[in-house]
Amino acid sequence: MNYNVNEKGYYGEFGGAFIPEMLYPNVEELRQNYLKVMAEPDFQNEFNQLLKDYVGRPSPLYFAKRLSEKYNTKIYLKREDLNHTGAHKINNTIGQILMAKRLGKTRIIAETGAGQHGVATATVCALMGLECIVYMGEIDIARQAPNVARMKMLGAKVVPALSGSRTLKDATNEAIRDWINNPVNTHYIIGSAIGPHPYPDMVTRFQAVISEEIKWQLKEQEGRENPDYVAACIGGGSNAAGTYYHFLHEDNVKIIAVEAAGLGVDSGESAATSVLGKEGIIHGCKTLLMQTNDGQITEPYSISAGLDYPGVGPMHAHLCKTGRAEFMSITDDEAMKAGLELCELEGIIPAIESSHALAIFSQKEFKPDDVVVMSLSGRGDKDLQNYIDYFKI
């Protein structure tokens, strides 16, 4: 079984490029060039240098001793939270800004939900001196004020998405509309492993540095490259895609994908796409998607803005459908509890997205000698207000 994208842009039955003709030249330009550009030694050198000196890679693979003791298994945390700007998002924005420059683009657009991808995009635009416009739902702008301020300080223009439900889905629509209206000079930096082909594959390849490092780091610490499990939270699925990438075809590595169940999978307030979604088309790709019987895309819910997306990347839809990955759903309450537990046991305040992944240890039994590598995708600074409100700190 192949879990990577095929030459037509599909992962099994998922993926493709379902885009209006107006976007065809832009997406086609990218499709024809992305692998070629990424393979150029100059590109590789610049990418790797920036990841090292600017982002601070490699990120540590940390053996979480007290957490491991509590759950009687061996838990390693891949510390993407220690990257510059506080999450894995920057791996992809560094890659894509270098891609945009090589394609001669002078104007960058992005969508953002919680603001992490927006900040990571604004950061690399400042670094490269390129114009940056970030679309963000009006509702998210109100609830993520610190990240809005960070983007502005970094020189980005933050444009409120006023259509639809005024959250991430609508911010993505607005970014796509901007691209339609500015087809020649603009590159759209999509932040997740979604969108029309080649985006899911390109984003995955830029994030694949996560699993590349895990391999040699685990070899150093455990004497073997492959853990028994890799686990990550999934909204659109970029940190998960990067965490899984080099293990997809290692049969002895089990893959766990953690979705946000919100108030409960059957509560009507959830973002558990693998359970609630059906095959459909969102933002240019065929994937699993939360929608009405009539094919209208529905609004998900999660306490975590980064998991609050009605679809999942096509690679993950394929991993779900084929059974390669085990999908778990974690509620708001379970995630918040797991987040606080990591603070208390390991002295790490995780992003609420990552807290969802951490909650699997209270839901699933692992063997004492199992090695579980979990992507700690981001730090919790941005979520402080959420934690304060939730725990009445």
Binding site: G16, A17, F18, I19, P20, E21, M22, Y24, P25, S163, G164, K169, D170, N173, I176, R177, I180, N181, N182, P183, V184, K278, E279, G280, I281, I282, H283, G284, L289, Q291, N293, D294, G295, Q296, I297, T298
Partner: protein, 254 residues
């Protein structure tokens, strides 16, 4: 012969109007279609509303959102249209995004269109290559014409490909934009229209995007078989209601 092909053979410039089904009120669909025909419109695009219309600007987004709030569904639209051919004779096209059709079932959707007397479809996010490989046979089985868009950025090679797959007309998008974003044409547009004109395509072209009044309609149809008005009509309905469609159409065709 399909009503679209018949209409394209008439010796006149064609006016096509887009409206969003279920807007401003859920049950306005049939009366809007009848009024448009009565006032001399040649072709109608019935918009099947979608929650996430990527290629549309604020006007059509707004009408789509309202139509869905009014309760419009694919099933209801088909039900509203079931007797439409008793009173309406001009070509009717359903324009909508692909996901609602996919959920209805593409073959069932096409079959239903044929039963009702729909002549064609415009699906902006169904790319020509996917259509060609997966759906063309189904569309043709039910006598439906699928209409593709081209833009100023579409390469000649791709235009030739689209022309070869098309069997009605080509929707010539006047500029790189979402719907309702721009009004009027400059040199860039006329050069593009002229370039397409010299390609001698099999299918006639109808211009869309940027047409809102008699002046832009006249300009566009200088280079093409017809022109499509969408956002300007939806705006008119928003501002003036559904009882003054005659004045809008007259102002275009004056």
């Amino acid at each position: 012969m399909n009503r679209i092909n018949q209409k394209l053979q008439e010796d006149k410039k064609l006016l096509s109007i887009y409206f969003t089904a279920g807007y401003p009120n859920l049950n306005d669909t049939v009366s809007i279609i009848q009024d448009l025909e009565r006032n001399g419109v040649d072709l109608i695009e019935i918009g099947l509303p979608f929650s996430d219309p990527l290629a549309d600007g604020p006007t059509i987004q707004g009408s789509s959102t309202q139509a869905l709030k009014n309760g419009m569904t694919t099933e209801i639209l088909f039900d509203q249209l079931k007797d439409i051919r008793k009173s309406v004779h001009i070509p009717l096209i359903i324009m909508g995004y692909f996901n609602p059709m996919l959920q209805y079932g593409v073959e069932d959707f096409c079959k239903k269109c044929q039963e009702i007397g729909i002549d064609g479809l415009i699906i902006p996010d169904l790319p020509v290559d996917v259509y060609h490989e997966e759906y063309q046979a189904t569309f043709e089985k039910y006598g439906l014409i699928n209409v593709f868009l081209i833009t100023p950025q579409t390469s000649d090679e791709r235009i030739r490909y689209i022309d070869s797959v098309s069997n009605g007309f080509i929707y010539m998008v006047s500029s790189a934009s979402t719907t309702g974003a721009k009004s009027g044409f400059g040199d860039e547009q006329t050069q593009y229209f002229e370039r397409i004109g010299t390609m001698n395509l099999r299918n006639p072209q109808i211009v869309g995007f940027g047409i809102s009044n008699n002046q832009t309609f006249t300009q566009a149809t200088k280079y093409a078989k017809g022109a499509i008005i969408g956002s300007a009509f939806v705006k008119h309905v928003t501002n003036e209601g559904v009882h003054s469609i005659d004045s809008f159409v007259k102002s275009i065709l004056e």
